[in-house]
């Protein structure tokens, strides 16, 4: 009997769904149109940048930036940006700043977060508050003091000054995120390690840090992107072309009277490559990690 009633019931329910499909389908179509429009709007700058970067300067000035089909195709702009534009040097400088900065800020903030999340001592809460309060400070107010401090310390116009300010500035944020994440690690685990004979340093290094991998990966991705794209601290602390990073290099490509947009877009695209690679490599961790520490 069940065999007979079952298909009938299914048919009925299918018919019911079909009838209600009309308005729902319309809604869906509308949604797709809106989403597609937004996506296209997002893509326009990127596509136009790519389009511009593969045309010659002469083609652009003669036929206008949007002429289609293009009258030229060249990869010379990328070559020029890398060699004549000095981007090979800017890339190296930026890596020399960003990689040590990210590693240092994660190491230091994970130490701070570990101690603040695991050990109760006089003033521990105040210390955490201090780190969090630092997040609320608008960095613009620090520009001039930091500039003067770098002069005072004789580190103005060095890559080291950039590493130092990045690490110092992000310590609060990283500590905050890692502290919240570490609080979710059961206390028994660190207790067990202590009983097993591990020192505080070893508990941090061998037990807590490996368990924080998702949070660390997410923070590393975020911080890499932010620090790679940083412009403000660079123009505050760096003067010479020798020590310029990619963002400073990009701004230097603008001529006083004539600007070679084809070269600039090619350089900009080059500059975006490392962040895209970092994002793609850590994408999974990054998406999962965005919520890291948000729930207690």
């Amino acid at each position: 009997m069940a065999d007979i009633t079952l298909p009938r019931a299914t048919e009925q329910s299918v018919a019911k769904t079909r009838r209600s499909l009309g308005p729902r389908q319309l809604k869906r179509a509308l949604l797709h149109v809106i989403l597609a429009t937004i996506a296209i709007a997002w893509m326009i700058p990127l596509v136009s940048a790519i389009y511009t970067s593969v045309r010659t300067f002469a083609d652009g000035t003669a036929n206008g930036p949007w002429s289609f089909p293009p009258h030229s195709f060249t990869l010379q702009n990328f070559v020029d940006a890398w060699t004549d534009g000095g981007f090979s040097g800017y890339f190296l400088n930026t890596f020399l700043v960003v990689i040590p900065a990210v590693i240092l800020m994660l190491l230091l903030s994970s130490m701070t977060a570990f101690v603040l999340s695991r050990y109760r001592f006089r003033g521990s809460r105040l210390l955490l508050m201090l780190f969090i309060a630092g997040l609320l400070l608008p960095f613009q107010v620090l520009l001039i003091p930091v500039y003067r401090l770098s002069n005072f310390l004789n580190i103005y116009d060095t890559l080291g000054s950039l590493v130092a300010i990045h690490v110092a500035f992000e310590l609060g944020f990283c500590t905050f995120v890692l502290h919240n994440f570490m609080r979710t690690i059961p206390k028994d685990l660190t207790d067990a390690a202590a009983v097993d004979g591990a020192s505080v340093f070893r508990i941090w290094w061998q037990v807590v840090l490996p368990l924080c991998r998702p949070a660390l990966a997410a923070l590393a991705t975020l911080e890499f992107t932010w620090k790679w794209n940083d412009y403000l601290w660079v123009i505050t602390l760096i003067q010479s072309t020798n020590n310029a990073t990619v963002t400073l290099g990009l701004s230097g490509l603008r001529g006083e009277f004539v600007t070679n947009w084809n070269l600039i877009t090619a350089a900009s695209l080059l500059a975006a490559v490392p962040t895209v690679i970092v994002y793609l490599v850590l994408q999974r961790q990054f998406l999962g990690g965005l919520f890291v520490g948000s729930n207690k």
Binding site: P186, D188, L189, D191, A192, A193, A194, V195, D196, G197, A198, S199, R202, Q206, V207, P210, L211
Partner: protein
């Protein structure tokens, strides 16, 4: 291997009342000591003090001849099994077990041998390359035991290690831990809230309540001679039955107790040791004057079903509430007059442990013969045992 001694130890958190009050306890070398008590009694805190995971507010703690109040956990040479196992999730079973040895710079070859040996003892050799998340609860438990076992520590601490296992596995692991104790000969300190675990495993048991040791003794001693109402109610399953009674001294020198009031009143004539206590012939009985209120405790197995309706002064009658058949025995819950329920008792009301062949159904009025020589007496105001 070493003994552990608490000397006037207190534990306070802030300004609150102490969690542990004046703890004096000597755990002997090679001993299996069980700390048992209801949740919040301070037993885990005491254990964590031995481990060095809790500070000692006052007093002294010795491991061997050394005062360890200010010694870091890593320097105490103790191993601990945690309630939630606390295995390192990112390490394999082998690495979990080898962690402590590696920290002590044990040669790799020896680490391998010791882990292998412990794994064999616990039957976890096939899982050495797995991560904890790929193991069942029982297997994780074994790894946690193994991690402590490879250490060959001075003292073994176990914090409710069986509470996350199912009933069958719990019984198996219970026996296994006892075997481990015999095999290693190390001092074991075991914390549990389960008095069955305490009774079956401990050489001695310390019963804790509200941060105070209620009684320290062998399992049999605690069962036969509980020092107060709390221990009497806590040790034994089903719990001892308690009654609020009045002592009545008869003219012929005998004594009886009056259970219940008014129409429900029933009398039991005392015999043997119980009579000596009640008549003041046993030492330390204290006030034995006529009409004195007492609390009487009867173990469920000291009841037997009596066909006769009483009148011999050894019988008490009541109505059956619930009958639980266990195969080899049946637990009969009876509504008896004057029943008293202390806080630690696991069963409410009175229970009799009867043979499996007795025909008893709910609603029946039954007469129970009481072994009146085996009664326990408690002072209602101090809750202390008389003798």
């Amino acid at each position: 291997m070493a003994d552990v001694r608490f000397q006037h130890v207190y534990k306070r958190y802030g300004e609150n009342a102490p969690v542990i009050t004046d703890l004096n306890l000597e755990i002997e070398d090679h001993e299996f000591l069980v700390l048992v008590g209801p949740s919040g009694c301070g037993k885990s805190t005491a254990l964590r003090m031995i481990a060095g995971l809790e500070d000692i507010s006052e007093g002294e703690l010795f491991i061997g001849e050394r005062i360890v109040n200010d010694v870091a956990p890593k320097d105490r040479d103790i191993a601990m099994v945690f309630q939630n196992y606390a295995l390192y999730p990112h390490m394999t079973v082998f690495d979990n077990m080898a962690f402590a040895l590696k920290l002590r710079h044990t040669p790799a070859e020896e680490v391998g041998q010791r882990v292998e040996r412990a794994a064999q003892m616990l039957g976890i050799t096939p899982y050495l390359k797995r991560k904890p998340r790929e193991l069942s609860g029982g297997q994780r438990q074994r790894v946690a035991l193994g991690r402590a076992l490879v250490r060959d520590p001075q003292v073994f601490l176990l914090d409710e290690p069986l509470s996350n296992l199912d009933a069958k596995l719990r019984v198996q692991t219970r026996a296994e831990i006892s075997r481990l104790h015999q095999a290693t000969g190390t001092t074991f300190v075991y914390v549990t809230h389960d008095q069955v675990e305490a009774m079956t495993m401990g050489d001695r048991i310390a019963v804790l309540n509200a941060g105070l040791i209620q009684q320290l003794g062998t399992p049999q001693d605690l069962y036969d001679n509980p020092s107060n109402l709390f221990v009497a109610g806590f040790i034994g399953s089903p719990s001892m039955d308690f009654f609020e009674v009045k002592l009545h001294r008869k003219g012929d020198g005998h004594a009886e107790i009056i259970i219940g009031q008014g129409d429900e009143q029933q009398r039991l004539t005392l015999t043997g040791h119980a009579a000596d206590v009640a008549t003041g012939q046993a030492p330390g009985a204290g006030d034995t004057s006529d009409g004195r209120p007492l609390i009487v405790g009867i173990r469920p197995e000291d009841f037997t079903l009596n066909g006769a309706s009483g009148g011999d002064g050894q019988t008490i009658s009541g109505v059956v509430d619930v009958v639980e058949h266990l195969g080899n025995e049946q637990l009969v819950y009876v509504r008896l007059p004057g029943a008293y329920v202390p806080e630690a008792a696991e069963t409410k009301g009175s229970t009799a442990r009867l043979g499996p062949s007795e025909k008893v159904s709910p609603g029946d009025r039954i007469s129970l013969h009481v072994d009146t020589s085996r009664l326990h007496f408690f002072d209602p105001s101090t809750t202390k045992s008389l003798v």
